[in-house]
Symmetry: C2
Subunit: 215 residues, 2 copies
């Protein structure tokens, strides 16, 4: 009986970790929130046996945190790049927005993952995400502090303004994620809305007087 002399049935060795992460991300995109994925489901999609999972992660929540880290690592570096491009003014707005939303478009899976975990995840997960968002807010506030025309605005109010921007961009991102991947018209629509809304905020900021309580 001619036994099959070549047996590279599992030629991939050392790539299982990445396969697991990709599988999980995939399932999140086209099925359910991460919190409701089962270990077996993920391993099945990754093409490995369930027990192989434990060679790479102690449990599902560890996978989740790793995925979260991956999601934000690339996002952070993009944000840094956007921030040091130009000094902000009304003209810069459009460019930044386009850069950001293009990034969202090209990293749909990661954003979907984060969006679903922002509320559906474990407390640990939720806190991690909120910490990142707060960090973005802080950085934005610091950037704004460097504008001459915002000199008279105190730190607390700068934080408030940055929060307003971040809240809105977050909401628009979620709106964008709900659209079909090929719905170019809808995406353009969201982008235009975003630009207008940020410009409106920009106007409001110009009118703001920090010291007022009720005068």
């Amino acid at each position: 009986m001619t036994k099959d002399s070549s047996r590279p049935r599992k030629p991939k060795r050392g790539q299982t970790r990445e396969a697991l992460m990709a599988a999980a991300l995939d399932l999140v995109v086209k099925k359910a929130p991460f919190s409701s994925l089962s270990l077996r489901e993920v391993t099945k999609r990754a093409g490995v046996v369930p027990t192989a999972f434990y060679r790479h992660f102690p449990d599902m929540s560890a996978l989740g945190l790793t995925l979260l880290d991956e999601s934000f690592r690339t996002l952070r570096q993009m944000m840094r790049q956007v921030r040091q491009e130009e000094l902000p003014n009304e003209r810069m707005l459009r460019g930044s927005i386009e850069t950001y939303f293009n990034y969202v478009r090209n990293n749909r899976a990661h954003f979907l993952f984060v969006a679903k975990e922002l509320f559906g995840g474990t407390p640990t997960m939720r806190n991690a995400i909120r910490r990142e968002i707060r960090m973005f807010t802080n950085e934005l506030a610091m950037d704004m502090a460097r504008f001459p025309f915002l000199n008279h605005v105190n730190a607390e109010d700068l934080q408030m303004m940055a929060g307003l921007v971040v809240n809105n961009v977050t909401a628009l991102t979620q709106e964008m994620l709900e659209l079909e991947e090929d719905d170019d018209y809808g995406q353009q629509q969201v982008l235009q809305t975003a630009e207008k809304q940020l410009r409106l905020i920009y106007f409001g900021v110009g009118q703001w007087k920090s010291s007022n309580a009720s005068s």
Copy 2:
């Protein structure tokens, strides 16, 4: 053999439906998103046997939709009440905000449920929620259209402005829900931020000129 002559072991009859809904809501608050609740879990907490579930709902997702309806029914009526209280101006802001956030505080469970389903739920669920939110946005835009000082703003831009407000209030609501129920300081903080942010938007709206494309 003295048999127990009184056997009111399950004296509650006809209240199971409410018990199931309450149980589900309870579990959502202190455990996990609705999507990850199991039928057995819910019935156990409701104090009934799993099969009793089917007397009231065909499956879990039906329960979810009912819960969603309940959540929005009370919210809608409150919004209507707030809207017809006064004509909006800067002074009205504080009152409306307080009313709204008090309502959030008193209906924590329902809001938590909605927040977690907004992204974690099934497509059906998500669409239902987004439709409600869009309705609020539309109503707000219609209210704004009645202000004299917004006469020169076209319908599309009114929609955009209303969207900005709703986005932000939604985000702040979520922030509020993340706080402990007895964290009075934190809640007050969010409320103050909300007021400032809405006032800033109010300023921006005052500066807005609809017709401008780039001039």
